[in-house]
Every structure is written in structure tokens, then in C-alpha cells.
Symmetry: C2
Subunit: 199 residues, 2 copies
């Protein structure tokens, strides 16, 4: 006697999510089953729609439900400051500080030779195209994570952008080394933004 | 700048699940978004189907996709042993021991005066009906959890069933007091079943 088929299938599906093992998946599945039908409908619908409605902004490559995204459309933001982040949640972490009024560029990853991720796998080319249109007065603030891959990506950006005349800065080490931007408190991120240093 | 609408809605939906806070919900939502569409489809479909296809067995009140359930249909099981559990996962925990060859009765909860859960909120009436049809040779093995509510439920069952002539036994205290059946290892459950005591 195992879980009835539909429950077993839901447990299996939940286990495909990160950090969810068999016990948690089982607890979630039984919770869905015992809850009002509206919970299951709402969850299933939200999962379906997130894949259908979320697209990438063709300017900054952030996730958005309207292209160009709200940040790229905002005229009050400084177009000459481009903050480069690894992933969309990193962008939100910086936005939460309320201290940055420029634009973003989302790489969708960091350079990682060990994982076989090179410059062509990230949105570097699109960054160069944007910078070319904006001119040499641009400052590129590198806000990749403070770990090995993030630092390698920052150095790579400095190496290609400084020789062609752009100012390249890096978030200050106010963030603990090895830290993941997404989970750092807004104050530390604000501090590191304020103390950004030349690369 | 917050999460785009569809992502925010999915995060909100995930947060309605037990033990999932904002950070975990955010991580799950972005994982769904970044994964192959087949993951999202599979998960949404499994959530929808679990609510549509899972019903209660009208004999033992276990969750099933066929009524009566596989256990109630199984002729090789002893019809004169009824193991009473609080919830369907408790039933599965006992089945996993492979040491019980009788039938089950799922109460769908335990008596809990503090939460306002009385006998009428659980499947006690249906248990009495079943026992009446089976006759006085029946043994009722009370496998409710070893915490206050589970013990109160066990005492209640003994108090109503023993005076009318049924044998009522209780899982032995091989399971740590306060423990939740669902998360106990099969060996301890097997031991507690073997050492069940009269109430």
C-alpha cells in the first residue's frame, strides 16, 4: 500500500523543486489535498501563468510581464549608470535598498569555467551594445556576487570595458565574502553601493 | 520595483503552503520560471488532479483513487482487526512496517477540546457502524499519536467500545511520547504494534 496515484504523482512533482525532499513533498501534497479547492486552483494557475506571462526585457534582460520593463521605461532614472547583476532576484535586492536610481543589466549567471559557463553564455554582448549607444560617460557598477564566480565576472568586465574607456566600479566589500546578494539585508547592500570602488 | 505580477502571484501561492516562508517561496517561484516548461506543466497538472481524483473510501475513510480502497478490497487481510489512525499518512506509516494484516479506520483528526474538535467532528459514528456489522470478536487497535490529543482519543475509544464488549488495544510506548507517527521509523512502529497493550 503506497500513496494513491494522484498523491504519489504530486509528491513526485514537488520533489523536483529545490530543497524539497520526500517528507516535505508529502506534507505539501497532503496539505493541498486537505485545503479548500481554491488553494489548489490558485497554485496550479499561478504556476501555469508564470511560465506564460513572464518574459525577458529586451533592454536589461530582467524578468518582466511588459517589455521593456518598468525600470527601463522610467525616465526619472539615470541612464548613465548601469548596474550589472547576475540574476533577477539580485536586482530586486538592490531595488529594495532604495539607494540606486540608475538602470540594470542582468547577465543571467556568472562566469564559471568549472561549470563550463563562458562569456558567450551570458548577456555580455547585449551589454556592450547598450554601452555603445549610451557613450563613454557611462558608469558600469558591477554588482555580481562576492564569491569566486562573481569576482571572476567582475574582473572580466573590468578587463573588457576599461580599455575602451568606461568607468567600471564594484560593490564595496560591505557584503560578507562568499555571500549571496539575494539574502543580504538591504542596509549592507546600500552600504556596499555607497562605497563602491574603482576596478 | 517589486517582482513582476505573475511571479509575485506565484510567490504568494507558494507561501500558503505549510512551512514555506517568503524566501523559500521566492526560490521555488524562480526555479519554476527557469526550468523547462514541462516541470511547470507537470506540477500544475498534479495539483489540479490530486483534488479531482482523490476521494475518501466509504468504508475506512482513507484517501483513495478507487472506492472502496485497495486495503478494504483485499480479501487476504483480517477483517476482525481494525487499526484506528488519525490521518492517512499514519496509515501509510503502519503499512510500511509490513507487520499489520488487518483493516484500518481513519478518524481524520483527534479529539482536541482546545481546538473545539469533539467526537462529532471525527469518523467515530462510522467506526461504530462498521464494528456493529463485524460483531464482538473485533479487536480495535488504537494507533492515534502518542501526544495529548491522541491519548485523549484513545481513552475516549476505550470508554465507549469496552463497555459494549470490544477488545481495545493501544500501540505500545515504543514510539517516543509526543512523537508524530508519520515521522517515526518503521522498526519502532513495528515494535509498538507487536507490544500493543490492553486499554
Amino acid at each position: 500500500m503506497a500513496h494513491p496515484g494522484p498523491i504519489a504523482r504530486l509528491i513526485e512533482q514537488f520533489q523536483k523543486l529545490p530543497g524539497i525532499g520526500e517528507k516535505t513533498a508529502t506534507r505539501l501534497a497532503y496539505h493541498v489535498l486537505k485545503s479548500a479547492p481554491v488553494l489548489a486552483q490558485g497554485l496550479a494557475e499561478a504556476i501555469r501563468r508564470v511560465k506564460e506571462e513572464v518574459v525577458l526585457c529586451r533592454s536589461c534582460w530582467n524578468l518582466t510581464d511588459a517589455d521593456p520593463c518598468a525600470i527601463c521605461r522610467d525616465d526619472r532614472r539615470d541612464p548613465l549608470q548601469i548596474c550589472v547583476v547576475e540574476e533577477p532576484p539580485d536586482l530586486l535586492a538592490i531595488e529594495r535598498t532604495g539607494k540606486f536610481r540608475g538602470h540594470f543589466h542582468v547577465l543571467h549567471g556568472a562566469l564559471s569555467p568549472l561549470d563550463g559557463i563562458g562569456p558567450d553564455d551570458l548577456h555580455f554582448g547585449e551589454l556592450l551594445d547598450r554601452l555603445e549607444k549610451l557613450g563613454k560617460k557611462c558608469e558600469v557598477i558591477v554588482a555580481t556576487n562576492l564569491n569566486a564566480d562573481g569576482e571572476a565576472t567582475a574582473l572580466y568586465l573590468a578587463r573588457i570595458l576599461k580599455p575602451i574607456g568606461y568607468r567600471v566600479t564594484r560593490l564595496a566589500q560591505g557584503i560578507p565574502t562568499g555571500g549571496d546578494l539575494e539574502y543580504v539585508d538591504p542596509l549592507s547592500i546600500a552600504k556596499s553601493l555607497e562605497n563602491r570602488r574603482e576596478l
